[in-house]
C-alpha cells in the first residue's frame, strides 16, 4: 500500500521550510515575510480571506513564481531559480483551485504524462522503441493502473476527465498529483464546488491519503469544517501578512482571524 519511495534527502531536514518569503507584483505586495516549517507527515492548513495571498504561497512553493525575497527549502534543498518541473521532481506536487486536468486525454494518460519527470528514455528511444523504452512505459502504465485501482478510478481509465462527475475530477486531480510520489502535497481548495456529501468523502480521502502515503499535506480551504477536522496546524494570512497560527481551536478563536473574516465589530 505504501508507495512512497523517499528520494535523496537528509532525514533531519523538514519537508518544507520557508523563510522570510516576500512577493511583490509591481507595487502590490502579495505576500510579506512569510515563514513556515513543515515536518514529515504533517497535515497543515493555510487559510485567509479572498485575495489574502494563499495561492501565491503555493505558486511560489511550486516554482511557478520566483520570490522577490526569502527562500524556500524542499527537503533542505533551495528551490531558487528552479523551473516548476524541477521543483516537482524534488518532491512537491499540487492541485489547482480550478481543476486543471488534460481534458482531451484519457484518465490513464493523465496519470502517465504526469510521470514525465521520471522517464528514463528520451526522444530517440521513444522513436526507436528500444528495450528501455518498453520497460519504462510498462512500469509507468502498471503503476498508473495500480494507483487508479487504489482510488477506485480504474474503471474510468479509458474515459475522458470531462465525462466524470465533478467530485471525481477533483479526486483524479489529487491522484494525479500523488502519482508524482511527492513528499509534500499542496491542495488548493480541494473542496471548492463540492456538495456536503462530497465534502465528507473528501475529508475521509485526504485523511486516508495522509495516513497511508506518508506524505505531508498542506491545504488551502474555505470550508472551515474541513480544516477543523483535518489539520493539526493552521496558518492564517490576510493581505499577505501572517495574522495567526496554531491549532485549529486556537486559530478559530483568535481575535485577528475573526476580524479578518467578519470585519471589526468595534466600528
Amino acid at each position: 500500500m505504501i508507495m512512497q519511495t523517499p528520494t535523496t534527502s537528509s532525514p533531519s531536514a523538514p519537508v518544507l521550510e520557508i523563510r522570510g518569503l516576500t512577493q511583490r507584483f509591481g507595487g502590490l505586495t502579495a505576500l510579506s515575510d512569510f515563514s513556515v516549517t513543515l515536518g514529515h507527515n504533517r497535515l497543515a492548513g493555510l487559510i485567509g480571506p479572498n485575495g489574502a495571498g494563499k495561492t501565491t504561497v503555493f505558486n511560489l512553493v511550486s516554482g511557478f513564481y520566483q520570490p522577490t525575497e526569502g527562500e524556500i527549502l524542499v527537503n533542505g534543498q533551495a528551490t531558487a531559480g528552479l523551473k516548476p518541473h524541477k521543483v516537482t521532481t524534488l518532491g512537491v506536487a499540487r492541485t489547482f483551485q480550478n481543476i486543471r486536468l488534460w481534458n482531451q486525454m484519457t484518465v490513464l494518460d493523465n496519470i502517465r504524462v504526469a510521470q514525465h519527470g521520471k522517464l528514463d528514455y528520451g526522444f530517440l528511444q521513444a522513436v526507436l522503441r528500444t528495450k528501455g523504452y518498453f520497460k519504462c512505459e510498462e512500469r509507468i502504465e502498471e503503476e498508473a493502473h495500480e494507483l487508479l485501482k487504489i482510488f477506485d478510478l480504474d474503471k474510468f481509465a479509458d474515459e475522458f476527465p470531462t465525462n466524470l462527475p465533478y467530485g471525481l475530477q477533483r479526486k483524479l486531480e489529487i491522484v494525479r498529483a500523488l502519482s508524482e510520489k511527492p513528499q509534500l502535497l499542496l491542495l488548493d481548495e480541494p473542496a471548492a464546488g463540492l456538495n456536503s456529501v462530497d465534502v465528507q468523502e473528501l475529508i475521509r480521502l485526504i485523511q486516508w491519503i495522509h495516513d497511508s502515503f506518508e506524505v505531508t499535506i498542506w491545504m488551502i480551504e474555505h470550508h472551515m469544517d474541513v480544516m477543523m477536522q483535518l489539520c493539526d496546524e493552521i496558518k492564517v494570512i490576510d493581505f499577505g501578512q501572517t495574522i495567526a497560527e496554531g491549532t485549529a481551536e486556537h486559530v478559530r478563536n483568535h481575535p485577528a482571524v475573526i476580524s479578518a473574516y467578519l470585519g471589526d465589530d468595534n466600528i
Partner: protein, 341 residues
C-alpha cells in the same frame, strides 16, 4: 497475441503498395505526370503531418513551414551536387557518382538536420510568450530565409539552383530503378511511422498536455521548454526532408517556390484534415494534391475555387474533416490492424 498476418498486415500492405508503384514506374506503365503527382503526394504528406505536430498536437500556430522546407531543399541540393555532380560553380564531383545512390538518404537527412537547426533558432525566442507570437516569428522566418537565399548569388540567388537531375541520373546509372519514387515512398512512410511512435509515447503525449494546459504540464513535471524544442525541431526537420525530396523530384529549386503561399497550402492541408489527427493529415494531404491537379485547367481561378471550397467545408465541419479523431476512432475495426495512437 494477434495472428501474425493481422499484426503485420499494414506492413505487408505498404510493401505491396510501394512495390506495385515502383514496378509500374519501372515498366513505364504510369506516365511521368501521374508519377510526379504521386511523388508530390508523398512530399505533401510529410509536410502536412509534420506541421500537424506543431499546429495540431502542440496547439501552436506556426505558419512558415515552407521556410524550413527551403532550408532542407537547398542544403540537400547543394550537398548532392557538390558531392556527386559536375557543376559549373562547384566543379568536379568530390565523390564517385556511383556512391550517390547509397549516400542519398544521408543527403536528405542532412537537409532535414539543417532545417531542424533553423527550427531551433526560430523556436528559441518564442518561449517567453505563447499564443500567436510563434505565428509572427515563423512568418518572418519564412521571409528571412527566402530573402537570404535570394541574396546569395553563389547558389543562384533568385534565379534558382539546379543540377540535381544529374544526381538522380547517377543513381539510376548505378542500379536502374525509378529511385526517386522509391525514396519518396520510403521517407513518407518513415515520417508517418516516426510521428505515430512519437505521439503515442508518454514522452510525446507531453506535447498534447502542453496544448491542453501548459501550466498543468509544467507543474506535473513536464519539461515544457525541452518538449517544445524537440517537437518544433522534429517538425521543421521533417519539413526539410520534404524540401530535399521536392528539390530532387523537380531537379530545380528557386526561392520563389517556398514562399508564404506554399506555407498556406500546408496550413490548409493540416486544418482540412483536422487538428491533431495524424490520419486526417495524411488523407487531406493526398486529397489536396489530387484536388490541385484536378483543378489545374482552371488556372488562376483554381486559387479562388480552393479557398472557397475550404471555407465551405469549414462552415459545415468547423473542426476539419476528422476533428481530432483518428481513422481508427471512426472505424474501430481498424484497430485490429493498426492503431494511430
Amino acid at each position: 497475441m494477434k495472428p501474425i498476418l493481422q499484426r503485420y498486415s499494414v506492413h505487408l500492405l505498404l510493401i505491396l503498395c510501394g512495390g506495385i508503384i515502383t514496378y509500374l514506374a519501372y515498366e513505364e506503365a504510369i506516365g511521368l505526370y501521374t508519377l510526379s503527382v504521386l511523388m508530390f503526394m508523398g512530399v505533401n504528406v510529410i509536410l502536412s503531418t509534420s506541421l500537424n505536430l506543431v499546429n495540431g498536437n502542440m496547439g501552436e500556430f506556426s505558419c512558415g513551414h515552407a521556410g524550413f522546407m527551403c532550408v532542407g531543399a537547398y542544403v540537400s541540393s547543394i550537398l548532392g551536387v557538390l558531392l556527386f555532380a559536375k557543376d559549373k560553380v562547384f566543379g568536379v564531383p568530390l565523390l564517385d557518382p556511383g556512391l550517390a545512390l547509397y549516400c542519398f538518404p544521408l543527403i536528405i537527412l542532412a537537409g532535414g538536420l539543417a532545417a531542424a537547426v533553423a527550427g531551433l533558432l526560430v523556436a528559441l525566442p518564442s518561449y517567453k510568450t505563447r499564443g500567436d507570437y510563434l505565428a509572427i516569428i515563423t512568418i518572418a522566418a519564412n521571409y528571412i530565409i527566402i530573402s537570404l537565399v535570394e541574396n546569395l548569388g553563389v547558389i543562384g540567388g533568385s534565379r534558382g539552383f539546379m543540377g540535381m537531375k544529374k544526381v538522380v541520373n547517377a543513381m539510376n546509372d548505378t542500379i536502374d530503378l525509378p529511385w526517386m519514387v522509391i525514396w519518396v515512398f520510403i521517407f513518407t512512410v518513415l515520417t508517418v511511422w516516426l510521428l505515430r511512435r512519437y505521439n503515442s509515447s508518454t514522452f510525446g503525449k507531453g506535447v498534447s498536455a502542453i496544448c491542453q494546459d501548459e501550466v498543468a504540464a509544467e507543474i506535473m513535471s513536464v519539461n515544457t521548454n525541452k518538449v517544445k524544442t524537440i517537437t518544433f525541431m522534429l517538425s521543421s526537420g521533417l519539413a526539410g526532408v520534404a524540401g530535399g525530396l521536392f528539390a530532387y523530384i523537380i531537379g530545380y529549386v528557386n526561392p520563389g517556390s517556398f514562399n508564404i503561399l506554399k506555407s498556406t497550402e500546408v496550413l490548409v492541408m493540416v486544418y482540412l484534415g483536422g487538428m491533431a489527427s495524424l490520419s486526417g493529415a495524411v488523407m487531406s494531404a493526398m486529397f489536396f494534391t489530387v484536388l490541385l491537379e484536378l483543378l489545374r485547367p482552371l488556372q488562376i481561378i483554381k486559387w479562388v475555387v480552393i479557398p472557397l471550397l475550404l471555407i465551405i467545408v469549414m462552415q459545415f465541419r468547423p473542426e476539419g474533416i476528422m476533428g481530432n479523431r483518428e481513422l481508427s476512432d471512426i472505424f474501430p475495426k481498424l484497430k485490429r490492424f493498426y492503431r494511430f495512437k
